[in-house]
């Protein structure tokens, strides 16, 4: 390679990198624009919005956030969503970890069949079961209750969670299990004290996805809640829009509030998200 070519190559690479950054920024602007626009609208006073779209908040103010909490029982909606989401995540985690333990460490007849049964649940779309589930909830008197909001969506994550946690448990050396048993530790103690802490990265991946799905779910809470006090924030907010469509800044303040937890989780758990995507596709 002559010394005249080398600088040219370097320059070409630098130009290519600059071009790539330019495209990266351009794409980011387009993708993030809906989030930005919601924030910009939420921060704008009502009078400014009446004059047309606000790409940048004029006289930014947080008053729409306070007004949104006054206009609708947003606090109650949020509380419901927090309770329901944690119920779903905890329930999925408990059921999946326990089942995964049996598949990874115990030997019993028809193990394969049971495992396939757990995996097969991932093929059943929620829409195929909502009508009978709704009828069940109604006959049990579980409509408009936390139990009804938690127990049905809970099932959608057990199959994947069991699969994922089993894979992590399988990476633990079997000697660990045998040693613990020889020491007289009960199997539950081994699971909670040794297997689960060593597999916490798997549990973290699962928790992130379970939380995103639980927090963002729409169809099931729409069906089983009819009283305002039991509504989740996703349903409550969408109903606000039919009440009064002109208060865009209030509506967007509500949207920003419900987006904050999931966006925070997304930013804090990039590694888990990337690994979870590889481990299996996750859809809400």
């Amino acid at each position: 390679m002559s010394d005249r070519v080398f600088p040219t190559v370097c320059r070409r690479i630098r130009v290519a990198t600059l071009g790539r950054y330019f495209l990266l920024v351009l794409c980011t602007i387009v993708i993030v624009f809906p989030f930005w626009y919601a924030l910009s609208t939420a921060l704008s006073p009502t009078e400014a919005l009446n004059r047309g779209p606000r790409y940048w908040p004029a006289d930014p103010t947080f008053s729409a956030f306070a007004d949104a909490f006054n206009a609708a029982p947003l606090g109650r909606f949020l509380l419901n969503t927090v309770v329901v989401s944690f119920g779903i995540v905890a329930g999925q985690m408990i059921a999946a970890v326990l089942a995964a333990y049996a598949f990874a460490f115990l030997s019993f007849p028809a193990k394969r069949l049971f495992f396939v049964l757990f995996l097969a649940t991932m093929m059943i779309p929620a829409e195929a079961t909502i009508i009978p589930n709704y009828l069940t909830m109604r006959s049990w008197g579980w409509l408009d209750s936390y139990a009804g909001l938690v127990v049905v969506p809970l099932t959608s994550g057990i199959g994947f969670g069991t699969f994922l946690m089993r894979q992590f448990f399988l990476q633990l050396p079997l000697e660990l299990y045998e040693a613990a048993r020889v020491d007289g530790a009960s199997s539950l103690r081994f699971l909670l004290r040794i297997a689960l802490p060593l597999s916490r990265s798997g549990a973290a991946i699962f928790a992130v996805y379970a939380f995103l799905n639980a927090w963002n779910q729409y169809l099931w809470p729409l069906l089983v809640t009819s009283s305002e006090s039991m509504r989740t924030v996703q349903i409550g907010l969408a109903m606000l829009q039919w009440a009064d469509t002109t208060w865009w800044n209030l509506l967007m303040a509500g949207v920003v509030v419900i987006l904050l937890p999931t966006l925070a989780v997304l930013f804090l758990s990039q590694k888990q998200l990337a690994k979870g995507v590889i481990a299996g596709a996750i859809r809400g």
Partner: protein, 318 residues
């Protein structure tokens, strides 16, 4: 298929498990462990049985029956509900709207996500930030997304018509014209899908061995050949997986339609799940709604099995 491991496999999971599997010969079964195992599986089995397997079977049974307005079964009619559906123009309109929705959403999502993944698949300073921002739509719930886009589509003060006006183009009746409404709700899904699909495809790209590119560069291969001869073939298992997942989620679209168009105008956005929802919970037609749900179920199963047969074995989680 078996000899050449797909380039994109369950990295977290499958590889270590496969290497360990030989060593992990569990002691032969004792009857006692069955009881313990059942105990550990009990919470999962109970929940899945009550709220997944039982309702799935009951939905099938409902679709073969007649009921009263309370959903109590009053008789068995065989496939009559299905026959009725397949001769009903309304059902075909709904199915066509669903297919059209998928036709709009799936290729656009894949192409955009592919472009983004290729763009972000380079170790550069601050690339992690760009990757997170590209993935960010996956944090949005369908109600948040629908409400934001409703603001975009607003006829009076909407962003999109404002931008079009600056370009000298006339206002578009985004949600109010039958010809536009399906496209407008599809745009929301494309935006929401892109985040996840991007992450998935980026993971697929990362599995392609870098040495291949280095060797190819020494051979003086053009960027186009690089893409078509190396990247695309090795990327294809992930692309196929993303295709199936996006298709399945397109067939399940509901939220933004309930929030923005309620199936209208004149049935243009009356997709399958929305039709199920209306039939079951507004018209109390539990049986025909169940038959529709079974058709959706069948579509999802076929797509899933297709992924299992043609693609590599990977799992779905919805």
């Amino acid at each position: 298929m078996y000899e050449s491991e797909p380039p994109f496999s369950l990295e977290v999971a499958q590889q270590p498990a496969a290497s360990i599997r030989k060593r992990r010969k569990l002691p032969l079964k004792r009857a006692g462990e069955m009881g313990i195992a059942l105990g550990y599986m009990a919470p999962g089995l109970l929940l899945l049985g009550l709220f997944l397997f039982y309702p799935a079977i009951r939905a099938l049974w409902l679709s073969l029956s007649t009921t009263d307005l309370d959903g109590k079964i009053t008789g068995f009619v065989g496939v009559a509900q299905y026959r009725l559906l397949f001769t009903s123009p309304a059902f075909w309109t709904s199915l066509r709207a669903t297919l059209l929705f998928a036709v709009i959403v799936v290729p656009s999502t894949l192409l955009v996500a592919m472009g983004l993944a290729l763009l972000a698949d380079r170790e550069l300073p601050a690339i992690g930030l760009f990757r997170t921002l590209f993935a960010s739509p996956m944090a949005a719930s369908v109600s948040a997304a629908a409400l934001i886009f409703q603001l975009f589509y607003n006829p009076a003060s909407g962003v999109l018509n404002d931008l079009l006006q600056h370009m000298g183009l006339g206002p578009v009746p985004w949600l109010t014209a039958p010809g536009w409404a399906l496209f407008s709700v599809a745009l929301i899904s494309i935006w929401m899908n892109v985040g996840f699909t991007f992450l998935l495809l980026l993971g697929g790209l990362a599995q392609i061995p870098r040495e291949l590119y280095e060797v190819a560069d020494l051979d003086g291969i053009s960027p186009w050949q690089r893409l078509t001869r190396i990247t695309l073939p090795l990327w294809s298992p992930t692309l196929f997986f993303a295709l199936i997942v996006t298709m399945i989620s397109s067939f399940q679209v509901f939220g933004q339609i309930n929030i923005l168009t309620r199936g209208g105008p004149i049935g243009a956005t009356n997709v399958l799940v929305y039709d199920i929802y209306r039939n079951a919970f507004f018209n109390f037609q539990y049986t025909s709604a169940s038959a529709e749900a079974m058709i959706l179920f069948a579509i999802v199963i076929v797509l899933t099995l297709l992924q299992f047969r043609i693609g590599e074995r990977r799992v779905f989680y919805r």
